[in-house]
């Protein structure tokens, strides 16, 4: 019961913030709306027994990546562009295509589970599901190779970002 109320709250706020993000003119407002989406999603992760992922979402995504976005927006001093959306036919095609994708996704979601009478069976979760201990255990045993590759990827990204953003000394 509590989960249903919180789910409704978080999902409505996530959708409202995301609509605000896509359709606002001021870039800083868009970034703040995206932070709102991230916080709502973090709440939903807690409902889904993913406490570590929820905390990491706040720490990394909302706390670091979005701050980086905000820095770039503020440094570039981006003003809102005057026609907000792409002019002409491209706008119509864009909305149509997105609508088609949504219908497809909806069809997949609805056809996959049971009807309202019998919801899809949910397993009993093992104890410690979603806890940092469990994530650490799996991350360093089953998923060790992707973990190491990700660390190399992050290093590449750091080097790439520094090289790309540096001013060339004339």
């Amino acid at each position: 019961m509590g989960e249903a109320i919180l789910f409704t709250l978080f999902s409505v706020s996530a959708v409202v913030f995301s609509l605000g993000m896509v359709f606002r003119r001021n870039a800083v407002h868009c970034a703040l709306h995206l932070v709102g989406v991230l916080l709502s999603l973090s709440g939903m992760f807690v409902l889904l027994h993913a406490q570590f992922i929820a905390a990491i979402q706040i720490l990394v995504y909302a706390g670091a990546i979005m701050v980086l976005f905000l820095f770039v927006v503020m440094l570039l001093n981006v003003r809102g562009e005057t026609p907000l959306l792409t002019p002409g036919a491209a706008k119509g095609f864009g909305f149509l295509f997105a609508f088609i994708v949504f219908v497809e996704l909806l069809w997949v979601v609805v056809s996959q589970g049971g009807s309202e009478a019998e919801p899809a069976p949910v397993r009993v979760l093992p104890p410690g599901f979603g806890s940092p201990a469990e994530i650490g255990r799996i991350l360093y045993t089953t998923w060790l190779f992707p973990f190491e590759v990700t660390s190399i990827l992050l290093m590449i990204a750091v080097v790439g970002a520094v090289v790309l953003a540096k001013r060339k000394f004339a």
């Binding site: 959708v15 896509v22 409902l47 976005f69 792409t86 609508f99 990700t150």
Partner: protein, 104 residues
């Protein structure tokens, strides 16, 4: 621990909705920064989908995937913003219609 509650379909529905809204943002907006943010929104919608499925099947692999998606998103945000910065230095604008050097 028994988990009855909101069925997974509802979470998938929200994820699909967020994904579509992000897709609209990518297709329809003109500022490179806003498009980048819409891509992040799409990534987050996929994260939600993964975590919901992870709970449904009772396996942690979905959450590990989300972990990696976040790490890759961080790397992508860093490099992407550096690219936007570099382009801005030349064009003094982030509007996509000015980034047409490869067009004939």
């Amino acid at each position: 621990m028994e988990t009855v509650g909101v069925p997974t379909q509802y979470y998938q529905l929200v994820a699909a909705l967020l994904f579509t809204i992000g897709l609209v943002g990518v297709l329809v907006r003109r500022s490179a920064l806003i498009i980048f943010m819409s891509i992040e929104l799409m990534l987050n919608a996929v994260n939600l989908s993964f975590v919901a499925f992870s709970r449904q099947h009772g396996q942690m692999d979905g959450q590990i995937f989300v972990f990696f998606v976040m790490a890759v998103a961080a790397a992508e945000a860093g490099v992407g913003l550096a690219i936007i910065l570099a382009v801005f230095r030349h064009k003094q604008s982030v509007s996509l219609q000015n980034m047409n050097l490869l067009k004939d």
